[in-house]
């Protein structure tokens, strides 16, 4: 990993997230990114669950901070984060979880959060505390680059990754803006909708990744609706990473860490060797 660096023009610092993605790509697969909320079912169990993800082959952890008004989330994640809030989740638990996870496993941890908690904490103070906890950066589902001046400043200063979203409905100008503003990767939303497992991953995802490539993206990961190893394999045929959320949360809710780890191992197998056993990839 020492020679592969994802460097960012504005900061010159290495993004471990981007470096991880590049390494997985160069090995013939792509990155598997797994989402879990902090504090579900409890703070301790959420830390154990994230550690188990890393041990089961997940390359990058996306740690969600529970929020009262999660407009991008479907029923599974809503139920989990609502339970975490009811159990007394506080923002400082987010830093505790990041620190505990990064102390145990060597995978980058990105924090996924709606913007108001950061605004109240202070973007600069949050960035400093996230760096201190060993976090890699933020995924911000309700912050668009247009309104992100404070976060652009804080992330550039601290070298944290900033992952903005790109949607099938985004104009080419907006895709270019998302690519230019992002560091680590761009989060390509597979479909018009919210989080939640889906039977098919939309063909819109492939079109979107192609469009992101044509405006210069070298690191595009697809999320929303992905739940099976087959879907991960299908997506990594054209994207740099696959993001799985609701399916992992549901596994954790249904069967605890063992069930979660089993699903993660299956998904990771889908992310490794993309060539079908008998023939070369068709595209």
């Amino acid at each position: 990993m020492s020679t592969e660096t994802g460097t960012h023009p504005t900061s010159g610092m290495t993004s471990t997230v981007e470096a991880t993605i590049i390494r997985r790509r160069s090995e013939g697969g792509g990155a598997l990114i797994g989402y879990l909320p902090v504090g579900f079912p409890t703070l301790t169990e959420s830390i154990d669950a994230a550690v188990a993800l890393a041990h089961s082959g997940v390359d990058i952890i996306e740690l969600g901070l529970p929020y009262t008004d999660p407009v991008m989330d479907g029923p599974v994640i809503q139920a989990a984060t609502q339970q975490a809030l009811a159990n007394g989740f506080r923002l400082r638990h987010g830093f505790e979880a990041v620190a505990a996870i990064t102390a145990q496993v060597n995978v980058p941890v990105l924090v996924m959060t709606y913007w108001n908690p950061i605004l109240q904490y202070g973007a600069d103070r949050f960035a400093d505390d996230l760096v201190a906890a060993g976090g890699a950066g933020l995924i911000t589902p309700d912050l668009i680059p247009d309104d992100a001046a404070a976060w652009m400043g804080a992330s550039t200063r601290t070298g944290l990754d900033r992952v903005f979203l790109a949607a099938p409905s985004s104009s080419d100008d907006r895709l270019r803006q998302a690519v230019d503003a992002s560091r680590g990767f761009v989060y390509a939303v597979s479909t018009m909708g919210i989080t939640g497992a889906r039977g098919d991953v939309d063909s819109a995802a492939r079109v979107l990744v192609d469009r992101l490539r044509s405006v210069g993206s070298t690191s595009a990961c697809v999320g929303l609706g992905i739940s099976t190893p087959e879907q991960v394999r299908e997506i990594l045929a054209y994207a740099d990473g696959a993001i799985v959320g609701s399916a992992l949360v549901k596994a954790l809710a249904d069967g605890g860490v063992p069930t979660l780890a089993a699903l993660a191992r299956d998904l990771a197998a889908g992310a490794r060797d993309l060539r079908p056993a008998s023939s070369a990839p068709t595209r």
């Binding site: 108001n116 605004l119 904490y121 979203l165 409905s169 018009m192």
Partner: protein, 405 residues
């Protein structure tokens, strides 16, 4: 005043407003912004809307002077702007007719709406019926229970009402679910937002559709009294009826503007919806404004006897008007509002909505402060028919064991 306060068009009002939404919604917000910008320059759009106001809603709404009520307000002259007489019973119809016309222009066939008291939901369902649009209304489960009559009205009008069971199960959660629906169905669906909150262009657009209230009332008061009122008052939930009546007076510095927020059990307790009085700046539902939140930026649940004011946020233009001192916002408790509701009913034969009763209660105090020479214009945003069950229970007016069948 050298510069006009009436020309603000968003996305920001001072530090407030913006678009804090998922990227998936930006294209739809851009489309709405652009289509609205074209429509508002189009005389045909304005003419069609004015004709609907006249022949469907019953505009202009009248003003009514209420001397017997005013006797309890230190003798100040009190004039009501009668939005309660509009078709569907509140000011909400002004906004939905504009947005439904816009939906037709954009070429979408389905509308969604959130509702608290049910008045915006009823108005949206009404406009959808009139324009032949499919309509889904999201309503917190708590509100479907306390405003059951409005649920029936919406269903009768052909709308689907979805009781929202997440979070606090009130207006704020209904907005979350409506946003989730919109993200998913944005290709066919327009979101008809019910108040001057939410992401740009809603605060400016909804205000524009409601400012007819103040434009009419300003002239009506001038015609009646020969001068401008000393104060204009309104209740503030999200803030649409208040922006609607305030806007025409923004550049009349001699006219005080006072918004009354829901004080619930008391603004000093934990159970209220006094967003500007007790909240601090933050982001909710796509805009930066005042909101009720805890130290971590988690939205705090609001409380009010009035479903339409039971909202922990407020429109960004109000946050701005408060920040520059142009308007003042004060809390009114449940009990104060309910006694003002009864007082107007008994002195003037007008039963107001509980929301509007907050403005009446505040005006009773304001009248005593301003004295008998003052004239106060109050926005009577809606009628109380929908609130008879709440009022019946509150005042113990229902015969024991009597059930309506």
């Amino acid at each position: 005043m050298s510069t006009s306060l009436r020309t603000e068009a968003g996305p920001y009002f001072g530090d407030f407003g913006g678009r804090f939404v998922p990227e998936s919604l930006v294209a739809a917000l851009d489309e709405l912004t652009d289509e609205y910008a074209i429509a508002r320059q189009d005389p045909a759009f304005a003419a069609e809307l004015m004709e609907l106001h006249r022949s469907y809603t019953g505009r202009p709404s009248i003003i009514t002077e209420v001397p017997r009520f005013a006797a309890h307000a230190g003798g100040a002259r009190i004039i009501l702007k009668r939005e309660d007489l509009n078709h569907t019973g509140s000011h909400k119809i002004n906004n939905v007719l504009g947005q439904a016309l816009l939906t037709k222009r954009i070429g979408k066939s389905r509308v969604i709406a959130e509702t608290g008291a049910g008045q915006h939901g009823v108005a949206a369902a009404t406009a959808a019926a009139l324009f032949g649009l499919d309509c889904v209304v999201y309503m917190g489960e708590v509100d479907t229970e306390r405003q059951a009559l409005n649920v029936a009205r919406m269903r009768l009008l052909g709308a689907e009402v979805v009781p929202v069971k997440t979070g606090s199960r009130t207006l704020k959660d209904a907005i979350n679910d409506a946003m989730r629906d919109w993200v998913t169905n944005v290709g066919t669906t327009n979101y008809m937002f019910g108040t001057v909150a939410g992401p740009h262009p809603f605060p400016a657009m909804v205000r524009d559709f409601q400012k007819i209230i103040g434009e009419e009332a300003r002239q009506q008061v001038l015609d009646l009294t020969g001068r401008l009122p000393d104060a204009v008052t309104a209740c503030v939930g999200g803030g649409s009826n208040a922006m609607g009546i305030f806007h025409a007076f923004l550049d009349d510095p001699e006219v005080a503007l006072v918004g009354y927020e829901a004080g619930g059990d008391g603004a000093e307790t934990l159970r209220h919806a006094a967003t500007i009085t007790k909240g601090r700046p933050g982001i909710l539902h796509g805009a930066r404004s005042f909101l009720l939140q805890d130290e971590d930026g988690q939205t705090v649940e609001s409380h009010s006897i009035s479903a339409g004011l039971d909202y922990p946020g407020v429109g960004p233009e109000h946050a701005w008007l408060a920040s520059i001192g142009r308007a003042t916002y004060l809390p009114v408790t449940d009990d104060e509002a309910m006694s003002a509701l009864r007082l107007l009913s008994r002195t003037e034969g007008i039963i107001p909505a509980i929301e509007s009763a907050h403005a009446l209660a505040g005006t009773l105090d304001l009248g005593k402060q301003l004295g008998p020479d003052a004239t106060i214009l109050v926005n009577l945003s809606g009628r109380g028919d929908k609130d008879m069950e709440t009022a019946g229970r509150y005042f113990d007016l229902l015969d024991k064991g009597a059930a309506q069948v």
